[in-house]
Symmetry: C2
Subunit: 421 residues, 2 copies
């Protein structure tokens, strides 16, 4: 049972826009036991769309279109799919009345073009759009002697998701053979993909009924497990067995055993220990604080801190002695340590983290002039303990160095909190 | 002259990964006067890949593959394209020797599988890979009586870009009719797309030889102009004429007339006025500082500031009176004003910005309990002037409210700086 997803819209054939609906649709189709074998992006061109529709219907069992259901002349998915299936369009009076009403409710006259949104492929079921005016369409039909399910969904992601959930998923679930899929994700930070693979592959290869995917993301490695069985309990049991064996092998390197982000895990650990956190950031300029504060509820454990980009502010907000900065340079272990301790004291937090480094592209100045781009110091301070500092040598451009520095800071913090379990 | 881009790789048919090479390739092909009409994503499956290759070669003049050139059994692009064109693969001895040498230089034995990377389609030109081991391939051939250009590029973006630039673009440029394309982008923040369209369409519709695209992005509107002429000067002149007329119509709403980001423009304006900036952020938790400090060279004008997430820090770092917070609530105009003035004074900056608001999903507490999620106050303070405050009522989820708040802060700052030109 394979699927093809077709995204219609010329804007997705420019350098500026990308189809993103297919990620959501793939996840939903996978959960129904359907593998996505092809994705096609095609412009607002009837001939191209019809050819793409014909090819997809011939090679896939389930074909999902997104976009091209609007009222303009560029919206051609209805015509293309009808043409590809050799079916006609009929104007649906109920849909038309609904569109009239939408305009009337806003005291507007319906432009004649909008009537096109009421064109429905004969034999198609109409899918209600609760978030917009273009209805979707659902066909369970036969083409070339094979059963084909063809679905037309609107392009705006909010409309597409709402329609898929309430109108499309239940129909697909009923139409497709029952399948039970369990998924789980383990996440690790700052560990090479090759090391993860060499340590985990002897384990996951023993689980042939679980599909394992290793993905290297931004400064983290993800292990995805998927298993399909006759019952949900069976599928979940196999996934959990494998996950537990991998957790035993990788130990503390795994920061998340159910998909949580590193920020979420750190905040959770702070909460469990009744700790509060503050940050002083130089080269990351607020990135670490931004990542932490993006998590809902973070204000209970994350107090804030200072963006000490200018050296003067390192003294003003974190009491780093001026002479220390002049002697060692702002990018140095003593300054990282003093920054961490100073911001902790000033904010009254029980734990603090400080980051100072050279993100580039231009090198440091004064005592930092000879230091390499990518040199970063992370300081950690716990109430009643001596602060400690880690030296990092990061590579890549400014964005990468800044992100990896924030990732290292979170991972060092997580490991320090683990020691205090 | 139309192109199709095919991305090969099963990971791009999962919910976790997306093809991104096609954005770069589209931009490059457009610059050569080639329109991208189809994009296809296909997994590591010989039958599927060969079918996709056959279809693309039949419907497009230029077909560019990315991925599937590695040494593993899943790397099937060579076989698929040879099959689709009815050509054979030959093992190239020079390429093979090169791969042997790469391994020898690392004191490793070449695994037999890697020899597959030396398989070249007969009649193809080999494209050197300066950043990896898989060579590319370039075919200028005839299929179905039409001239077809077929290019095989490696999947890793760094390898693909380097190979395209040095090995592929020059060949395409020579093979394709000479075209001269000029592009330009205008950017506007916080203005509805419909307003931009209704004010600019009477102008850009007069320039039929310039293709105008309006894109609504994250809290900004972009106007893209593209023009193709016989000479570069002619094309540039038309694009500039149109851009200038649109600039005259939209005036100060345009923050960027050559594509710069809002952060870059604000930093540039601060520099021209010999101003320095500091920020105090509550609900955005460092996002605004992070955006500013992400720009190389920002440290000359952006000093930093404080993330005053906890109320106590509003007093500690920006001297907001405790009683003011207790009376009005942290999300209030008086607090925004005091935060802006306080952070300016404490950092010694000449200009400052402060953000306080309710990002959700949970409502505020104490005096803020009745205030709606999305209520945000932005304070601006200039040395020697009374601070001023703008009240915003934003919609959407936490991420959106935070991003829009930072965007409003930057745009308010830009307009305030404009007044002081």
């Amino acid at each position: 049972m394979i699927a093809e997803i077709i995204a219609a819209g010329s804007e997705m054939l420019t350098p500026f826009r990308q189809d993103t609906n297919s990620l959501y649709l793939t996840s939903e189709l996978n959960a129904l036991g359907v593998v996505v074998a092809f994705k096609t992006i095609v412009g607002d061109n009837l001939e191209h769309l019809m050819s793409a529709a014909r090819i997809a219907i011939s090679r896939a069992d389930v074909v999902i279109f997104s976009g091209g259901l609007g009222p303009t002349e560029d919206d051609l998915t209805r015509e293309a799919v009808a043409g590809a299936l050799g079916l006609r369009l009929r104007r649906d009076n109920d849909v038309l009345a609904g569109i009239y009403k939408r305009f009337a409710a806003r005291l507007m006259t319906m432009p004649p073009n909008n009537a096109r949104q009421a064109d429905v492929i004969e034999t198609a079921t109409i899918l209600q759009n609760l978030k917009g005016s273009a209805p979707g369409q659902y066909l369970d039909t036969v083409a070339g002697r094979h059963r084909k399910i063809v679905v037309l969904l609107p392009g705006p992601p909010g409309e597409l998701k709402a329609m898929f959930e309430t109108e499309c998923r239940p129909r697909l679930k009923q139409a497709l053979p029952e399948r039970h899929m369990a998924r789980r994700m383990l996440r690790m930070a700052l560990i090479p993909e090759s090391q993860v693979d060499s340590r985990t592959s002897p384990i996951y290869k023993q689980y042939e009924d679980v599909e394992t995917t290793i993905l290297a993301g931004s400064a983290e490695i993800q292990l995805h497990f998927v298993c399909v069985k006759h019952t949900q309990a069976e599928a979940q049991k196999r996934v959990n067995q494998l996950a537990e064996r991998i957790e035993a092998e990788m130990g503390d390197a795994i920061f998340s055993s159910h998909g949580e982000s590193l920020e979420e895990v750190v905040l959770l650990m702070l909460g469990m220990r009744h700790n509060t956190l503050a940050a002083a950031e130089s080269c990351t300029g607020g990135l670490l604080s931004q990542r932490l504060s993006a998590i809902p509820g973070s204000s209970r454990y994350f107090l804030g801190g200072a963006v000490v980009y200018a050296d003067r502010l390192k003294t003003e907000f974190a009491e780093v002695p001026k002479e220390m900065i002049a002697t060692h340079g702002p990018v140095s272990a003593p300054v990282a340590s003093a920054l961490a301790e100073g911001i902790r004291r000033r904010t009254g937090a029980s734990v603090s983290v400080a980051i100072t480094g050279i993100a580039g592209p231009t090198p440091g100045t004064g005592p930092d002039a000879e230091k390499p781009i990518g040199l970063v110091y992370v300081g950690l301070a716990f109430e009643g303990e001596e602060p400690r500092v880690a030296e990092l040598n990061l590579t890549g451009d400014r964005d990468r160095i800044r992100f990896w520095a924030s990732q290292h800071a979170l991972e060092l913090l997580r490991r320090a909190l683990l020691e205090r379990a």
